[in-house]
């Protein structure tokens, strides 16, 4: 009480300093500029050189790195494999989490809370460590998966050693590891829907196809678009560590993708210019994906 009277004749706050917001933002902004935005610009510059990271001299090659990249059939292979990773993420990081979230909504109450906790728990394990565990599961002949195949009387596949299978095997690890996270995001999206609809879905059991296709899905559409695109946007990132730990992109580069290739060029082959050029192309691709995503959401009137 006493203190309010310190300003007896006005109820308004004292004037605030105009430049204060900038001062508050400065530290955070500084780190963003130095460690996020400056690297994007620096990649452009670096991509014009041939440099092995240690030699004191870098050789200017103009657009030579881009030319070499675009002529290399490897880029096409990386692109194809990256798209395959995205397609697999659409299954494992979009459809499956969505299905589990819809199931959870039908359960409700204490059980739902328990299921959320349990499904999220595996995401707490470091992905590099999880990849080691899967390395064991995938062991040829002696590993549990190979033994399971043998028990069924089937020939055990080579998993990570098989050029046809390695990418799928690696992708499964990434999808497994991040399932709980995407499940929770899906659940958050669903919970933002009008309560009555969800209640109806729960009572109905939401098994009726008519209800699903005429009521729930149209209402869900914006959420679905968002979930789908965020699953895609992070897919290559998620696969990065399992690729590095389990296959290093092999066999014969068959499990690599664009993100991993950037890393390999820089820190395995020490071709800084090539790595930067690939990073620039990757950034452009991501930007296109994100801008496309915003456009799509805008058109659907989500922000309206």
């Amino acid at each position: 009480m006493q203190r309010v009277e310190a300003y007896p004749h006005r109820a308004k706050a004292p004037p605030r300093v105009a430049w204060e917001p900038y001062l508050l933002l400065a530290p955070g902004l500084l780190f963003l500029l130095v460690f996020v935005y400056w690297p994007l610009v620096y990649n452009l510059w670096l991509s014009l050189f041939e440099w092995n990271l240690v030699s004191p001299q870098a050789r200017f090659v103009g657009l030579g790195n881009y030319q070499a990249l675009l002529q290399d059939p490897l880029l096409g292979q990386l692109l194809r494999q990256s798209l395959l990773y995205l397609a697999l993420a659409a299954l494992g990081n979009f459809l499956l989490p969505l299905a589990l979230a819809l199931l959870t909504l039908q359960v409700g109450g204490r059980w739902a809370e328990l299921y959320q906790s349990l499904l999220f728990t595996p995401t707490v394990v470091a992905v590099s460590i999880a990849a080691l565990v899967w390395l064991y599961l995938y062991l040829p002949a002696a590993g549990p998966l190979a033994k399971a195949f043998a028990a069924l009387g089937l020939p055990a596949p080579g998993f990570l050693a098989d050029p046809q299978l390695a990418l799928y095997a690696v992708s499964l690890v990434a999808n497994w590891k991040f399932l709980g996270f995407h499940y929770l995001i899906a659940l958050a999206g669903l919970k933002a829907l009008p309560k009555e609809v969800l209640e109806a879905a729960r009572v109905d059991g939401a098994v009726g196809w008519a209800f699903l296709s005429r009521v729930l899905l149209p209402l869900l559409a914006p959420t679905l678009v968002f979930l789908f695109l965020s699953a895609l946007a992070s897919a290559l990132d998620y696969a990065f560590v399992p690729v590095d730990v389990m296959t290093q992109g092999g066999p014969f580069g068959q499990s690599s993708n664009l993100m991993y290739a950037v890393y390999q060029e820089a820190f395995r082959y020490f071709r800084a210019g090539m790595a930067a050029a690939l990073a620039v192309l990757l950034t452009l691709g991501m930007a296109a994906l994100i801008v496309g995503q915003l456009r799509l959401l805008e058109r659907r009137g989500v922000y309206g």
Binding site: L24, L32, V107, P122, V124, A126, V133, G189, A279
Partner: protein, 270 residues
């Protein structure tokens, strides 16, 4: 009745499959070396703590855990402070360029780490910060997510209370520290734990920057062990991996309600 039970059954099936690798991780760490491939199941008798003894003897795990702790704590605290300051400006002040600056913060979350590794690495090398704790932490201090989440929370904070504090003559920092931080404790706890676990589990950046053995964080140390002495010693390797996972797991379990609530509320806003 069957209709009622079906969702439960399917969810339990999914949970079972999700947990299977974790059960193998734990089970293998308890298997006597000579019985490593004796059973295809995650657990089999007898169990032993021998693998843990071996790994604690061979690896300076305390040193690695210390590095992980400094790295994770530094990253978490730094992001919290930067996020609090920026979120305050974005939530309560109007100023020129506010929208553009906010877009910079949000868009930073979308830039994949791998395109910034090389320039960041070169910068730290030039600053002679490779193989230092500071060099590990600095590039983690991009507070886009913290800023975004906290701004969201601040926006729903009752304006009258802030006005009253301002009339009281409280400075911005006092308002942040005495009013907003206590009022948003739950969110801050959830955010801190999430950031901490995220940093604790980081692998690629620490592997690149802290490549000297005495600077290894736990994730890197486990990986190096897997590539060297532990190559076919699955028992000790899994014992090390269980020990490296335990702090993150315990933190999550202790705060799981808050973390899940915060993720569920602030995850997506459509």
């Amino acid at each position: 009745m069957a209709r009622r039970l079906l969702p439960h059954l399917l969810l339990w099936l999914a949970i079972g499959l999700c947990f299977l690798p974790l059960l193998y991780q734990l089970g293998l760490s308890l298997v006597p070396p000579e019985r490593l491939f004796a059973s295809p199941w995650p657990f089999s008798l007898p169990i032993t703590l021998e693998n843990y003894r071996v790994v604690l003897e061979k690896l300076p795990l305390a040193r690695y855990a210390f590095n992980s702790l400094v790295f994770a704590l530094g990253s978490t605290l730094g992001q919290l402070v930067l996020g609090l300051l920026a979120a305050y400006a974005f939530a309560f002040r109007r100023f020129a360029l506010a929208e553009l600056l906010f877009a910079l913060f949000v868009a930073s979350m979308l830039v994949p780490f791998v395109v910034t590794y090389l320039p960041s690495y070169l910068l730290l090398a030039r600053l002679e910060l490779l193989n230092t704790h500071l060099g590990l932490i600095l590039p983690m201090l991009t507070a886009g997510y913290a800023t975004f989440l906290l701004r969201q929370r601040f926006l729903s904070f009752p304006k009258e209370i802030l006005e009253a504090a301002l009339v009281d003559g409280a400075s911005t920092l006092q308002i942040l520290w005495r009013v907003l931080v206590p009022a948003n404790q739950a969110t801050l706890v959830a955010l801190s734990i999430t950031l901490f676990i995220g940093a604790w589990n980081q692998f690629v950046w620490p592997m690149l920057v802290a490549s000297r053995p005495e600077m290894y964080v736990l994730t890197v140390a486990v990986q190096r062990f897997a590539g060297g002495e532990g190559a076919n010693a699955w028992g000790p390797l899994m014992a090390a991996s269980v020990l490296a996972t335990l702090p993150a797991l315990l933190l999550f379990l202790a705060f799981r309600k808050r973390i899940l609530e915060t993720l569920l509320e602030g995850g997506v806003r459509l």
